[in-house]
Symmetry: C2
């Protein structure tokens, strides 16, 4: 008998019919002899409906009452699923975040889980009930309702799996797993049967938005095996766990990309201590988040070129700030490009294999793609290129690193991992 | 400075615009120097929407999960009102039933309030906040969510007013007070500025559905002055309180009626002990509620005629049960009438005034209305008549007892009471 925590997202419980389908799936797991804790999001559209009501009253929302409002969405889902389970003679009981004391800090709208009291859940599991918990919410120590921010139901599921020492945490979503890259760009993209936490973190933060990044971090921290599966199709999904010996056979797990960034450049700044601070200080004061940062010594050896990327929505504001500071910075030139894309190779195998970076640069150059920025970490190489080359670049790299479905090398590597 | 508990029903918070209007009203009361506790129902239509979702899953609903589902309705209202109050620079804080520990028994869907812990509310009132509480809901001692049944928000308001020793409990609704009778039947009907708890109980249970009957009972029991007012119009409404000295001047406070009852008769039953039990036992076993009961000795002195009224929806089922028992009962005849109506005169003044009943019967007879059943209590006389005479009877009695707006006697009596 295994203890499984399952999480179903908003589209998986988007209609009463889909809730019935989830109930069918859950009761099947129970019939197969497992103990089940199920975490639910609000029905798709419900959170937006509630936000719409609030926005009619206060255009800029936030604070304690927004969480009181939004937390009702998941409460509706858990009640309905329990009804659907009981109809199937599968005893079930629902709990709000507060009822199982998912204790958080008091940061309304983006609270962090501090502790979970598993006693009430364990008692109900022992009484052969499926325990259905509202995702995305908790209470602070004074009993105020908090929410974890959008998508926080993944975090609830992982935190519960940790607190209950579950055998597996399964995240049901509308994709059937983690892919080597976006199948809309590369039809040859292949579902991975396994991936490491670190790779998943790099994939998630780079735009393969399958899982909430905090959930992956948490699962990695407490070593909870995490599985991504489809609510709508059968299949094993992708298991996210710690690196194993033979994982190293595979150099690259996948190719992530983003196209919602823009590039800002300050060229010809006198090279002295504090340049980075003087450039980025005003940017961060304006609450603009910076992703990649690259600094090069200029050709003359006395000035430096400083380039960074921000979210595309912040491009104009960022450029303005730089321009208004350019005299203080004594910069020769301030500029930028709104139309860039970032491509990243991700894989723990990189650690022990040299030459991945140079191969990547060669492939891109063979396709005539100019690289504007490079940034590397232990298990990731990212390059910034002109946006129009994004699809071409992804496909070329996917093919060159043998990630496709039809690649024999890929099959072997995959077999070795699973 | 007065402590006021206000309750706004579903139509008063039916849209965001109406919630804004309630916020306007509440903040006005605060500016006038009062401490405010506000109890809200779910937005109109919300409870039905939630019931609709549940009904898609289980046609016959009930139990624990239904309360988890339905209690979200009020939670949405309280959050939105607090946002609207804060927009008006009127500090406010919302609480669910569980958060202020409205402790109930565990009878899901129809729980009763056992206790309220006023500490958290008092602390927030002392910090100059409006306290907004979700009506209709509580928690049992194990922390399970319960609801008080539909309309239970009135009960929440009265229970809070009692626990906090409030100066007044104001129930805002879509009528502007309690009337001498239904203005749709008698345009001359007049709003009462005062009425006693006992009269209100008789009026409410007889079909003038302004207030939930349990709320009135509770307010009477703990002597909380209760006021019914309109959310949409200005006005003093009707104050429901204990009888005062000069109340006795008014014989009759109002005329109530129902038209959703039906009459069942068992005629010519041998008159022996246990007749009533043998007739009504099977009826109550079938969960049919009985309202009026009248038993007469038959003309021959050896048999008896037994008549009672039930809800019109239960008529056919009741008749069937009687028929299947008629041989055991040795009844000469079993019959009934689906189309009856009940008219009741209500007034504490009746206690000390003889002749009210005979005047009532005379007025009805002068209009050619035949009386089928009579039932009396200390402050009420009810008669059952053919349904088609209902409006005629109400108007004739309203006029004869000087209840109209234009009646000088009524004005005087009313002046004396208020």
């Amino acid at each position: 008998m295994a203890l499984i925590v399952q999480k179903y997202g908003g589209s998986s419980v988007g209609t009463v019919e889909r809730i019935e389908r989830v109930a069918e799936k859950v009761s099947q797991w129970v019939r197969n002899g497992n103990e089940l804790v199920v975490v639910l999001s609000a029905m798709m559209g419900e959170t937006d409906r509630l936000l719409g009501l609030a926005r009619e009253i206060v255009p800029r929302m936030g604070g304690r009452e927004l969480d009181v409002l939004l937390s009702t969405g998941e409460q509706v889902s858990i009640a309905l699923l329990c009804m659907a389970l009981e109809k199937r003679a599968c005893p079930a009981i629902s709990f709000t975040g507060g009822q199982v004391r998912i204790l958080t800090d008091s940061s309304y709208n983006k609270a962090r889980i501090l502790d979970i009291d598993g006693i009430r859940i364990r008692r109900n599991l022992a009484a052969d009930r499926v325990v259905v918990v509202a995702g995305f919410q908790g209470v602070d120590e004074r009993g105020n309702i908090t929410t974890l921010g959008r998508g926080g139901s993944d975090t609830t599921a992982v935190a519960l799996a940790t607190a209950l020492d579950a055998d597996e945490c399964q995240i049901y979503t509308d994709v059937d797993g983690v892919y080597t890259t976006d199948p809309r760009i590369e039809p040859e993209a292949r579902r991975l049967s396994r991936i490491t936490f670190e790779e998943m973190l790099e994939m998630a933060s780079l735009g393969s938005k399958v899982l909430q990044i905090r959930a992956v971090e948490l699962a990695g921290k407490y070593n909870v095996p995490l599985r991504v599966l489809s609510s709508f199709e059968e299949g094993e999904g992708t298991l996210i766990s710690f690196e194993e010996e033979d994982v190293e056979k595979a150099l690259i797990s996948g190719i992530a990309y983003t196209r919602d960034e823009a590039q800002l450049t300050v060229a010809g700044v006198p090279d002295r201590p504090g340049v980075a601070y003087h450039i980025l200080g005003p940017i961060s004061e304006a609450n603009i988040e910076v992703d990649m940062i690259v600094q090069n010594v200029g050709a003359d050896g006395k000035t430096t070129d400083f380039t960074f990327t921000v979210h595309r929505n912040d491009f104009s504001r960022g450029l303005e700030i730089l321009k208004s500071n350019s005299t203080i910075l004594r910069a020769r030139e301030v500029g930028g490009d709104r139309k860039i894309a970032k491509i990243s190779l991700v894989g723990v195998g990189m650690r022990s294999h040299a030459g991945i970076a140079s191969k990547m640069f060669r492939i891109l150059s063979e396709e005539g793609i100019n690289i504007r920025m490079i940034s590397t970490s232990e298990i990731k190489i990212s390059v910034v290129i002109e946006e129009k080359y994004l699809e071409l670049g992804v496909r070329a790299l996917h093919d060159a690193f043998d990630l496709g479905q039809t690649s024999a090398a890929a099959r072997e590597a995959e077999d070795a991992r699973s």
